[in-house]
């Protein structure tokens, strides 16, 4: 069967031995290079997941320049490892310290930390890791299964369909964003506007660059991401004082093994979390964060005694942890098959691929199967590694939490600065990132969510290109978007979703206005 052939190819790539010259000594030894990259990714991901105050997006942005010198497969394997590794690591801090190390494990704090307080930190950690592992395995198979058919489907897409699909993606990003819908749309448009800076795609005319030579190529989105997610996050943490409330309960971690009753009650939760997470991961605009929230809500709704939730229910740990890991992995599906990043981390993966001269899209799977399948196979290997990294070694990661934030953040600032600088060896990029750090700080203060901004920024040029192409092919006939059936369906879905979201909001706001005017 095709699937097994593809997976075999993938595992071949992962277990390939490459001669590696040890620096300074000069001895060549064969090592499985891609496994090493996978391990590094998983380790860095866990580290990032454990440490509060530095997120996945900033880390991937920081490591982008480092992947310059690596082979493309290795680079992508490593970056993917960071994303799903962070989902594992995030649960550790959530459970033990009540501080989510990663946005995707915010809900895990609710029940996980309660369990830890009751002296059941071990089972909570174990269930989180087992759930994540199970979800990771399922998601890997899902990617392998869906990859090829979706790619065939995607090859029938013309510019009009691509434009409509991206519109749908942006609408999903709006619908799934938390907080005000208007503000989420505004952030996407902000991102689209930022993506306009630089040179025009067709004529090469300089757009909104003010004759600044460094802007002629446009704003690099790794630079913007680092500013908005890296620097802004640091500044924000300095405000609130990220150090308070770090009481470890690690001395209570005794037996790791969950009891049979624990396993019995969490198995269905893991299953449900995996399914929900896989679906939300594939949807554009989704991702690990939303998946974990949705899974927790679902568990609470269908539970026979919802009052247990928030007081240490094990399914309240199992479901969101499985969901975030499943979503982190299935969000690769739209990227690998359609070339469209469904969330901000995937947007950075596009950047990583572009650095290596790979244009994401359906062609990648056909022209460079070893790249795609190698990455998919590496995810399974990575999940296995993470299980080992996280469970027996949990004590080491907890020790890391003792590093106080006031020593940690200057290190992050320097790493970020060096990372941005080394992309182009341009000091201006560092200044731009700093400016976007302040912009990001301002956005946080005004309750704007920065993730849709990055998505808009990445999709902007793609959307414009396809829009212009579609209009050119149809000789200026804008109805092409609704007369082509596939495109029409996609647009109709987008419009329907947007209306469904906006209607209740308008009603609520109107009521608020009336209440106000009555007073």
């Amino acid at each position: 069967m095709d699937l097994f052939g593809n997976l075999a190819l993938g595992f071949n790539v992962v277990f390939q031995f490459v001669d590696f010259t040890i620096p300074l000594i000069g001895v060549k030894i064969p090592i499985p290079m891609n496994i090493v990259f996978c391990l590094i990714g998983a380790l860095v991901g866990t580290l990032v997941g454990v440490l509060p105050g530095i997120g996945t997006i900033a880390t991937v942005a920081m490591l982008l320049p480092i992947t310059f010198g690596l082979p493309p497969v290795g680079a992508l394997i490593m970056l993917a490892g960071i994303y799903y590794g962070a989902q594992y690591g995030g649960s550790t801090t959530s459970i033990l310290v009540n501080i989510p190390g990663e946005a995707g494990s915010v809900v895990t704090t609710l029940d996980g930390h309660q369990m830890a307080k009751q002296g059941r930190a071990g089972p909570a950690l174990a269930i989180a890791a087992i759930g994540s592992f199970f979800a990771g395995c399922v998601a890997t198979v899902l990617i392998a299964l869906l990859g090829a058919p979706l790619t065939k489907f995607a090859l029938q897409f013309g510019p009009a369909e691509y434009f409509s699909l991206m519109t749908l993606g942006l609408v999903f990003a709006v619908v799934l964003a938390k907080g005000s819908v208007l503000k989420a749309i505004a952030m996407i448009v902000f991102g689209l506007l930022l993506s306009m800076v630089g040179s025009d795609l067709e004529t090469g005319a300089s757009r909104m660059a003010f004759n600044v030579p460094e802007l002629a190529d446009g704003l690099g989105f790794a630079t913007v991401a680092m500013g908005v997610f890296g620097f802004a996050e640091i500044i924000r943490n300095l405000d609130t004082g990220a150090e308070k409330g770090r009481e470890l309960v690690q001395d209570k971690v005794t037996g790791l093994m969950p009891t049979k009753a624990d396993l019995m009650s969490s198995a269905p939760a893991i299953l449900r979390g995996t399914v929900l997470g896989s679906i939300l991961g594939i949807l554009p605009g989704g991702g690990a964060v939303i998946a974990s929230f949705a899974a927790y809500t679902l568990e609470k709704k269908i539970s026979s005694n919802p009052s247990q939730f928030g007081k240490g229910a094990i399914s309240g740990v199992a479901a969101p942890e499985s969901a975030n890991n499943a979503a982190a992995q299935t969000s690769f599906i739209p990227l690998l098959t359609l070339g469209i990043p469904p969330n901000a981390v995937m947007a950075l993966m596009v950047g990583a691929m572009t650095i290596h001269g790979i244009v994401p899209g359906p062609q990648v799977m056909q022209k460079q199967p070893e790249l795609v399948w190698g990455m998919i196979a590496s995810m399974w290997v990575g999940n296995l590694m993470l299980l080992i990294i996280n469970l027996p070694l949990v004590g080491i990661w907890v020790q890391l939490l003792r590093v106080p934030y006031h020593l940690l953040y200057p290190c992050i600032v320097i790493f970020c600065a060096i990372g941005i600088y080394s992309v182009n060896n341009a000091p201006t990029d560092v200044i731009i990132a700093g400016a976007f750090g302040l912009v990001g700080y301002w956005l946080i203060k005004h309750d704007f969510e920065p993730a849709p901004l990055l998505l808009g920024m990445v999709l902007g040029p793609l959307m414009e290109e396809n829009l212009r192409r579609a209009m050119l092919i149809s000789r200026g006939d804008a109805t092409v978007f609704v007369t082509r059936p596939l495109s029409a369906v996609l647009l109709a879905m987008a419009a329907g979703l947007l209306i469904l979201t906006l209607l209740p909001m308008l009603k609520k706001k109107r009521e608020e206005v009336f209440v106000e005017s009555e007073n």
Binding site: P23, V189, T203, D239, I431, L438
Partner: protein, 238 residues
């Protein structure tokens, strides 16, 4: 960008007596309206001593301040918004000032794409998409502003100065000295400057970590990762 201005309005949920309801809010938006001119003024003052990035001169400055397009498209409309801000009741300051900044952004997009050709027949010009998105942004900014005016919402959050100042200073220092002074000195200096941003430092400890991280960076980036970094200051190389 407008982040500094938002900071000014940070302490102003003041509803004064008399017709002028938000004197400080109006003032802040007025500052935002002349922000490009202010930035240009600062650049012009700095340029004689700057590192050669900014070549603005005083004659250029005079031209820029009275540039008809920028005044017509950006400054005047923003001054109108500022005047409105001073007189309207604001129920949700967080939304209101957020929306105003988006309006400013949209107008700025209109200005900066005003020199680009638009549609040619059925073909898009370079200016079409920026204006399209700018228009969308204007509508959204307006909607958010009105929301902030009509519905009760969150107050402005407090802006802190110490953290943002020193982190930004550290980043700017990095950009300024990485070329002339090389990686080792830059990394250490930036670490210490960034560390000033937190009141919790114990300086011997910080110094040790700073030295360690400098050593780590000087090993990791050039040697392990093979990135082309200049280690020593330029004057030591000659």
């Amino acid at each position: 960008m407008s982040e500094g201005v938002g900071g000014v309005s940070g302490k102003t949920p003041v509803s004064g007596i008399g017709p002028i309801k938000n004197p400080y809010g109006g003032l802040a938006v007025a500052l935002l309206a002349i922000f490009p001119q202010l930035v240009f003024l600062v650049f012009a003052l700095v340029s004689p001593v700057s590192f050669g990035y900014f070549t603005a001169t005083f004659s250029g400055l005079a031209q820029f301040i009275i540039e008809p397009n920028i005044i017509r498209i950006y400054t005047l409309p923003m001054l109108v918004v500022a005047a409105v801000t001073a007189f309207v009741p604001i129920r949700g300051p967080q939304d209101y000032f957020g929306g105003v900044a988006l309006i400013a952004l949209a107008l700025w997009a209109f200005y900066s794409s005003s020199d680009l050709p638009g549609m040619r027949g059925f073909q898009f010009g370079p200016g079409t998409a920026p204006r399209l998105f700018g228009g969308l942004m204007l509508v959204l900014g307006f909607a958010i502003t009105v929301t902030g005016m009509l519905t009760k919402g969150a107050a402005l959050e407090r802006y802190h100065l110490r953290g943002p100042f020193f982190v930004t200073l550290s980043i700017l220092t990095f950009a300024a000295v990485i070329r002339p002074l090389g990686l080792v000195i830059t990394a250490f200096a930036c670490f210490m400057i960034a560390a000033l941003g937190s009141p919790a430092q114990r300086w011997t400890q910080t110094l040790i970590v700073g030295i360690a991280i400098t050593a780590f960076c000087s090993f990791l980036f050039p040697y392990v990762l093979g990135l082309p970094f200049q280690m020593k200051p330029r004057f030591m190389l000659q």
